[in-house]
């Protein structure tokens, strides 16, 4: 960063541009916006940022990011505690919660198996899942990893590990998006949808 900028300004630009999806241009625009913004957004932001690491913990049951352990979802006894939905990231929990159609609990792996990226089973919360299944004896584990190569690999691996536990294991269905158009669906999705067809 050039000498002409005040050190705090150039520091913030440099830090912001390290964030995913933010280039140097956006970083400087954000910085100058915060500098001029009158309503104390910068202060509020700095408090929020500080609280991010201090105020959050990993739920020791499902490994979601929460304010305390167990997290509100695990602590909610009105939810079906024998139904575990396995997802890759905390954001996936939000997506499933938005449906309002799921009343079980979760297990967050924090990633997907990918040898190229050096992500092996011990880097994910897979052993913890095995332990939960062994101790808790849930009736069903739903594998809701992404339908990507890595997500499928992760699901296949967990399935292989859980096979002997006697728990019922299901995988999210793959198929056509609601409101979509058959004509414009790509061949892979469509052939998966055909494979997974159901009787009416």
């Amino acid at each position: 960063m050039s000498q002409t900028l005040a050190r705090p300004v150039s520091n913030l630009i440099e830090l912001l541009s390290r964030l995913p999806g933010i280039g140097p241009k956006t970083a400087s625009r954000l910085t100058f916006y915060l500098l001029r913004e009158p309503n104390g957004l910068a202060e509020a932001l700095s408090t929020a940022l500080a609280a991010l690491s201090v105020g959050t913990v990993l739920c020791q049951r499902c490994f979601n990011i929460a304010e305390q352990s167990p997290c509100p979802i695990c602590a909610d006894l009105s939810r079906d505690q024998t139904l575990i939905c396995v997802v890759e990231e905390p954001m996936d929990v939000l997506a499933i919660e938005r449906t309002g159609a799921y009343r079980g609990i979760y297990h967050i792996l924090h990633g997907a198996l990918s040898p190229i990226d050096g992500v092996y089973p011990e880097k994910l919360r897979i052993a913890e899942l095995m332990e939960r299944v062994r101790v808790g004896e849930p009736r069903e584990v739903i594998l809701a990893t992404n339908p990507s190569l890595e997500g499928e690999n992760t699901a296949a691996y967990i399935y292989q590990q859980l096979q002997t536990s006697g728990v019922s294991i299901t995988r999210l269905a793959r198929g056509l998006p609601v409101g979509g158009d058959l004509e414009y669906t790509d061949e892979v999705t469509l052939s998966r949808a055909l494979e997974g067809r159901r009787s009416m």
Partner: protein, 409 residues
């Protein structure tokens, strides 16, 4: 389909070029290093998504443009089917991105970003392939016979991708699976661990690899039939050329195949795709220990090869340079025919200065082939490589330092 118009911006030594190509035959003449090959390279890139010349992609961008603040190259082809079908506009933009590597580090310097648009709509690179089908003849084609197996696989892949989108997809998936599988094998070799993690990658490799094995087996047997005919024309019936597919794993050598098929030799030509997948999977499982010890996938279609023999002699080792050149030419001519039979449409022929390398009889065979195609673009250093009759039918351009000038008379 036909290529009607080519437009280049900052591509190699062309700062700007607008070229109408409505004629059946176009000949570009010029001294060496004037930009003749660059024209064919641009068309090849628009047809297949990649340059036939391997090397750094940033060299594709005009070196003067590289100095500017936003270095880019743009290639546009307008193609049209016969009759009144609407034209399509294929566009490839190569941009030199100066974005540093993620993590804020210095990175590996600038990278070339490739963007594809079809009729103005952004698409994946995969969607480009197969819209404009080309067969490119180069003086260095001889290395298809004499060179390393990679060159023959690359050749087969480019030809088959242009014919079949599902082959292209299977190839992409297979390569992704293979790098994951190899990364895992390396780790299992170096640090040990649960080899059960391979199960998924074995399944996937068998699933996509079986597509490659079967399509390649089929294609090589087609090419064998067609190339034998072309070879007869090229040598006046003196030599019988045979192409053989050398798959990996090879059913002729694999013991696992006997148990899987009940004693008979496994044949890709007669097996259903699922059977081939099952056979490949059985082989991958049976040889897992070997793969782990090596830390990489020792067998699979990524190790395929193709053999050229004349009267039982392997041309790669025993062929003369002339024989190798003839076999490569027969192969390319066979590819033209194969594409036509598979798609019902003649590919566009791109001939890069190949005439000067050939003797009279081979030249005549090639000119016969030219007479049969819907469209061909040819480069040469010397007008005398062609008969006056042929030149009379062609639109002629002189190429000098990245500029074209129409030649009449």
């Amino acid at each position: 389909m036909r290529l009607n118009h080519l437009s280049l911006t900052n591509f190699r030594n062309y700062a700007r070029l607008e070229l109408g190509l409505s004629d059946r035959l176009t000949v570009f003449q010029g001294a060496n290093a004037q930009g003749k090959t660059n024209l064919l390279e641009a068309i090849h890139l628009l047809a297949t998504g990649r340059s036939p010349r391997v090397g750094a992609e940033r060299e594709l961008i005009n070196w003067l443009a590289l100095e500017s603040s936003l270095p880019y190259a743009r290639l546009v082809a307008e193609i049209g089917a016969a009759g009144d079908a609407p034209t399509e506009r294929l566009e490839v933009v190569l941009e030199l991105a100066r974005t540093p590597a993620p993590g804020g580090g210095g990175g590996n310097g600038p990278v070339v970003r490739k963007q594809v648009r079809i009729n103005g709509v952004p698409k994946r690179g995969l969607d480009l392939i197969g819209r404009l089908r080309v067969v490119l003849f180069l003086p260095e084609d001889v290395s298809l016979v004499a060179g390393a197996p990679t060159e023959r696989r690359r050749y087969l892949d480019i030809a088959l991708c242009q014919i079949s989108a599902s082959y292209c997809r299977a190839l992409g998936e297979y390569n992704k699976v293979l790098s994951q599988r190899n990364a895992l094998l390396r780790r299992l070799r170096d640090e040990g661990g649960d080899s059960g993690q391979l199960a998924f990658w074995d399944d996937q490799a068998a699933e996509h690899g079986s597509v490659l094995l079967q399509r390649r087996a089929h294609a090589v047997s087609e090419l064998n039939r067609l190339a034998a005919e072309r070879q007869r024309d090229l040598t006046g019936g003196a030599e019988r050329l045979q192409l053989g597919y050398l798959p990996s794993p090879d059913p002729a050598k694999v013991i696992a195949s006997r148990s899987a098929t009940g004693g008979d030799r496994f044949a890709f030509e007669t097996a259903a795709r699922e059977q081939t997948a099952g056979w490949l999977l059985a082989h991958l499982r049976a040889t897992r220990g070997r793969d782990v010890a090596a830390g990489s996938s020792l067998s699979g279609p990524h190790r395929d090869d193709m053999a050229f023999t004349v009267e039982g002699h392997d041309l790669r080792t025993f062929g003369s340079r002339g024989q190798q050149r003839t076999a490569a030419l027969a192969l390319k001519l066979a590819e033209v025919q194969m594409m036509r039979e598979a798609t019902g449409d003649m590919p566009l022929l791109l001939l890069d200065d190949v005439m000067s390398e050939l003797d009279a009889i081979r030249r005549r065979t090639l000119l016969d082939a030219l007479a049969q195609v819907d469209q061909a673009l040819v480069t040469t250093t010397d007008w005398d490589d062609f008969t006056p009759e042929l030149l009379a039918q062609a639109r002629r351009w002189q190429v000098a330092q990245g500029a074209l000038e129409r030649v009449t008379a």
